[in-house]
């Protein structure tokens, strides 16, 4: 499949990354290579295994009482901007 520069830019938008033109150019080549490699994979069909060998099942944690986590002051101290205990970000323009 041919990868266009537009797709590179779209990917950058998804990843929330600001890229230079040179980066976009070099990534363009790299993504093409990635797609070619991915398409080139040919492996025998795997027997439908339910879980990875040796992989543990998720053992749900036993019921427990709530435990204290971080205090509001700690959360606020970590945040670049806060207001009345909330984390503040620029106004989100559209609803949701």
């Amino acid at each position: 499949m041919e990868i266009t520069q537009e797709q590179v830019k779209k990917t950058a938008a998804m990843a929330k990354l600001r890229l230079s033109d040179e980066e976009i150019e070099s990534l363009h080549r790299l993504l093409r290579e990635l797609v070619a490699r991915s398409a080139g994979i040919s492996l025998p069909e795997e027997e439908a295994s339910t879980a990875e060998p040796g992989e543990a099942a998720a053992a749900p944690a036993p019921f427990s009482r709530p435990q204290p986590g971080l205090r509001q002051e700690e959360v606020v101290a970590l945040a670049p901007a806060a207001e009345r205990g909330f984390i503040r970000v620029p106004r989100v323009m559209d609803h949701e």
Binding site: A58, L70, G85
Partner: protein, 465 residues
């Protein structure tokens, strides 16, 4: 004409002590960012651990909706950037916990496509200057219930959602408070006509039953109009604007390129053993079964039974009153009438179903009139107490003593010979007059049935004299 094809995606917050992947409290209404930890705040290096209580609650929901429970289900990350999504992804399930359920509502049936566990996001508050984020809700366990597009009318959608809420409440899975966001609903709708179907439109932000019904009705009108004008319906995400009473196009949270699902590498597949599934299937009585029992065992009408089961607290009240000795039908009347009214007024009930049972018993014995009993109940609602004592202290005790009332009746007849004459000449009003006089002589405390009998007796006796 066009037929609506409606499917719902319902998010239900599970009642658990702790969050889905950490041990933070799920208590509602705490100060902002006071119930968070490295896991639900997405701090670097934090890892999720699945909460067994949430799994059990989700399994109960799956059983209550007659779903097929998957012995192996898997977790995945659904990516999108949004301030209230602390990790840049939401942990949800790709291979769901359960599939293929069914809810039978008599007139129609709703098929459940899937039911899976996922975590809630934080809460954003939009002010004119900025957006403020509180992560207390981040990581609260949710189940997402997806129906097949098998609903045909807004009313059906509403009925299903209301019933779903009841089921969740009965099984103790969720408190389903729409106003607190513990029950949230999105709807998919398209119109199907002779010429095919329109594109599917998603409506979000349906945060009340009424909003859902109105939004769907609005969309049906809007889309029908578009079709009538020969225009296409765009596949888009809308939100219901309650104030404007219309749907508006919403900028999607979803990025172009989709949610980029990634099998969650921090959580191995959830493998359920038979014991866990069996445990989940031990459900308490669900609303429809209860309704059938109310009709069958208590002889209630379909209508009364339906209203009672729709309000779990009242239904419990009713059953407790019956258990305390009240006859079912008067108990149902009292619960649906006075008790419901008083609860609405006072927000809580300081008297017990046993109190009500005693009061009902007193009215049936004639020890207090129905009107008197209502007064007693009002006092009970206000400050509680003992029903008999209140009857006494209010002087509401009904006189059912034959001798005493016969004297009163004789006096009323003797003092009003004109009325007696009128009655004899066929004027029914005169009897009511005499009964009123007699009641007044008893200071309103006479058992009305008995008094009537004795007044008639007194008239007959006077004639013989």
């Amino acid at each position: 004409m066009y037929e609506a094809v409606i499917g719902l995606e319902v998010h239900v917050e599970l009642l658990t002590r702790t969050k889905l992947f950490c041990r933070c409290s799920t208590r509602f209404g705490a100060p902002p960012n006071s119930q968070v930890c490295p896991v639900c705040l997405g701090l670097p290096g934090a890892l999720p651990v699945l909460n067994g209580e949430a799994v059990d609650q989700a399994l109960k929901a799956a059983a209550a909706l007659n779903c097929r429970i998957n012995r192996i289900s898997t977790f995945a990350r659904k990516h999108y950037f949004y301030p209230d999504q602390p990790k840049g992804y939401q942990i949800t399930q790709t291979r769901p916990l359960a599939e293929g359920g069914r809810v039978d509502l008599g007139a129609f049936q709703v098929n459940i496509a899937r039911l899976h566990l996922e975590e809630d996001a934080g809460k954003s508050i939009h002010t004119p200057e900025c957006t403020l984020v509180d992560y207390n809700r981040s990581g609260i366990p949710l189940i997402e219930i997806v129906t097949e597009p098998c609903l045909r009318t807004p009313a059906q959608a509403r009925e299903f959602l209301e019933h779903l809420r009841l089921i969740m409440e009965y099984a103790g899975i969720s408190d389903c408070k729409m106003e607190e966001g513990s029950l949230r609903c999105d709807a998919n709708i398209s119109l199907r006509g002779p010429g095919g179907s329109t594109a599917v439109v998603e409506i979000k932000n349906l945060n009340s039953f009424r909003a859902m019904e109105r939004a769907l009705a609005y969309e049906i009108r809007r889309q029908s109009r578009l079709l009538a004008q020969g225009k296409a319906v765009a596949a888009q995400t809308l939100r219901w604007d309650e104030a404007a009473n219309r749907t508006v196009v919403m900028r999607s949270k979803e990025e172009a390129g989709g949610y980029r699902y990634l099998p969650e590498p921090d959580l191995p597949p959830l493998i359920l053993d038979e014991a866990a599934i069996a445990r989940a299937c031990r459900l308490p009585e669900l609303p429809l079964a209860r309704k059938a029992r109310f009709i069958g065992a208590y002889g209630l009408s379909e209508a009364d039974a339906l209203i009672l089961i729709g309000d779990r607290m009242l239904a419990d009240w009713f059953e407790a009153a019956v258990a305390a000795g009240a006859r079912p039908r008067p108990a149902a009347n009292w619960v649906l009438g006075e008790v419901a009214r008083l609860r609405k007024e006072t927000r809580h009930l300081p008297f017990t179903p046993a109190d009500l049972a005693r009061l009902i018993d007193m009215t049936e014995r004639g020890a207090v009139s129905v009107a008197g009993a209502k007064k007693v109940l009002a006092v009970l609602a206000e400050r509680g107490g003992d029903p008999e004592q209140i009857v006494h202290s209010l002087g509401l005790a009904q006189v059912s003593d034959r001798e005493q009332l016969a004297e009163v009746a004789r006096q009323a007849v003797a003092e009003n010979p004109d009325a007696v004459r009128d009655y004899r000449s066929g004027k029914d009003r005169a009897l009511r007059f005499l009964l009123g006089k007699a009641m007044k002589l008893s200071r309103g405390r006479a058992n009305p049935q008995l008094l009537r009998e004795l007044v008639l007796q007194a008239i007959a006796d006077a004639e013989r004299l």
